[in-house]
């Protein structure tokens, strides 16, 4: 019996290596052990990214970039368009949860040492994706063109300007001129909806292909246990068993997002006025707060160097170290010494304390 589905299947079979693709999809097994829950975070980050793409595309239907129109168009979305408030609130909430999830995913991978051979490049692509997500956050923040976002962008673009030699060109590139104007808005809009999504799509493709190729990493401790006691080893198939569990988590997350957006809708604030003074207590988004607070606390002169410069230099070193972490960890076997998890703990603690401090500080 040649059902229509079979005919299509056969047509495709004659042209594409479907069985190879299927084999790759079915190859992956998900290890089951006491840390298995951490495997959900990457998928959750991916889900939130999907929510961002969908709600972002919806917002594009009504949003207009431009100093005279941006604020009004977001206001229009929130007050005139049916469910516009919901779509925008979900976009904002999901953006924040996405950054949080990406950080949680990074630290879980770090503590489980999943970055070790052969998964170095999976880690590198992941860290680059986290930087991209921060770029999305920064560029998207200005788009409603309100006072908060205006000054946050002003300060945010001033920071790289402190770097010697390339600082000024970077500032001009980011702002599309000397000051934050309508040109900055169209520029960041272009980054937010075209350039960053294109790069992110590519990187996510690479990241996922690598994960599919190498399979899930088993933490060194569990690996050692399984070697000592092979009968204790447990695995489930990625497809469909793990995917179904992950879908359930996504379903709950979607419900949670809807609830957050409905109960705590994102406010729009006041339209940006380039000639007004910065309001008191101005702060960036929470994921930039630890950096913001650090720069606030660094004395103007430190070790004979400009304090600001030193701080920015430190951020660069930390970012670079995060990117190249798999190549810094040369311990074998991997669970003997713990200097990397230890350092990561200190760093995580510092970030948390500074974020909270930045949050409560005047």
């Amino acid at each position: 019996m040649a059902s229509p589905a079979n005919t299509i299947r056969q047509w495709l079979d004659e042209r594409f290596p479907l069985d190879d693709i299927k084999a790759l999809a079915q190859k992956k097994k998900v290890p089951v052990h006491r840390y298995s829950y951490w495997y959900f975070l990457g998928g959750m980050t991916l889900f939130l990214f999907g929510v961002q793409v969908l709600t972002g595309a919806l917002l594009l239907m009504y949003y207009r970039p431009g100093a005279d129109e941006a604020f009004e168009s977001v206001q229009f979305i929130m007050t005139q368009v049916q469910f516009g408030w919901l779509i925008r609130s979900v976009h904002s909430w999901s953006a924040n949860l996405l950054v949080f999830m990406a950080f949680a995913h990074l630290f879980s991978v770090l503590f489980l040492k999943s970055y070790r051979k052969p998964r170095e490049l999976t880690w590198v692509s992941g860290v680059l994706l986290l930087f991209l997500m921060l770029g999305f956050g920064f560029s998207g923040y200005l788009l409603p063109w309100n006072t908060l976002s205006y000054f946050a962008t002003k300060v945010g673009t001033e920071i790289p300007a402190q770097i010697p030699i390339i600082g000024r060109p970077v500032l001009l590139f980011l702002r599309g001129g000397e000051d934050i104007t309508g040109s900055t808005l169209t520029r960041l809009y272009g980054f937010h909806v075209a350039i960053l999504p294109a790069v992110a799509t590519l990187l996510i493709g690479v990241h996922l292909a690598l994960i599919q190729w190498f399979g899930m990493s088993v933490p060194p401790g569990v690996e050692a246990e399984w070697q000592a006691r092979p009968e204790g080893k447990r695995e489930i198939r990625f497809f469909p068993n793990f995917v179904l569990r992950e879908l359930m988590a996504w379903y709950v997350a979607l419900g949670l997002l809807g609830a957050l957006a409905a109960l705590f809708p994102w406010s729009l604030g006041v339209k940006a006025d380039p000639f007004a003074s910065a309001p008191a207590g101005i702060k960036p988004e929470w994921y930039f707060l630890s950096m913001f607070q650090t720069l606030k606390l660094i004395p103007a002169k430190l070790l004979g160097m400009d304090g600001e410069m030193l701080g920015i230099l430190a951020f660069g070193v930390i970012g670079g170290a995060a990117l190249l972490l798999p190549f810094l960890d040369r311990e074998k076997p991997f669970n003997t010494r713990r200097w990397i998890p230890g350092l990561a703990c200190v760093f995580l603690g510092y970030m948390t304390v500074m974020t909270v401090y930045g949050w409560v500080a005047k």
Binding site: L58, M61, Q80, F83, G84, L86, I87, Y251, L254
Partner: protein
């Protein structure tokens, strides 16, 4: 599924009786999922419907002033969100109508040489009452009411009797 095998292991004799129960659970889960999917999709569909912009067509619009019009000329004016056409006929009468061609929506114009209203896109012709007389337009242009108050020429949508 562990739950199904668990049920079967404890009560193997009730396997046929389990079938309706499993179907009941499936229906319950399925409708729940469908309902929640609908609740996610509904706001999106509603969001995609553009909100109605305030239409000023109900009120009188100042279309032109008497000194700027001459016999056998016309002027397009804003009528709400769409263009309207105000014609002064050769005999001096004012006529006003929608300037949106009923064929494919181009903006029509007055042809003083023909004393008719012409659509440049597909050569549609209307007479000075807006009636479609030749070419592809399927319906007449919507005619408006003209009121001259002093030097101002106001146009409003014809009131339904």
């Amino acid at each position: 599924m562990s739950t199904a095998s668990g049920v079967n292991a404890t009560a193997p004799q009730s396997a046929p009786a389990n079938l309706p129960r499993r179907r009941f659970v499936n229906i319950l889960l399925g409708t729940g999922l469908l309902a929640s999917a609908a609740s996610f999709l509904y706001p999106i569909l509603r969001y995609l419907v553009p909100p109605k912009l305030p239409d000023l067509g109900g009120d009188a619009v100042l279309a032109a002033r008497v000194p700027e019009m001459k016999p056998n000329t016309a002027k397009t004016f804003r009528f709400g969100t769409r263009p309207g056409l105000l014609v002064q006929t050769a005999s001096g009468e004012y006529r006003a109508m929608s300037a949106t061609c009923t064929h494919l929506g181009c903006t029509v114009q007055y042809r003083p040489d023909l004393r008719e209203i012409w659509c440049a896109c597909h050569n549609g012709m209307y007479d000075l009452n807006g009636r479609n007389i030749s070419g592809p337009p399927p319906r007449p242009l919507e005619a408006f009411e003209v009121q001259v108050r002093g030097d101002d020429i106001f146009v409003r949508r014809k009131q339904e009797a």
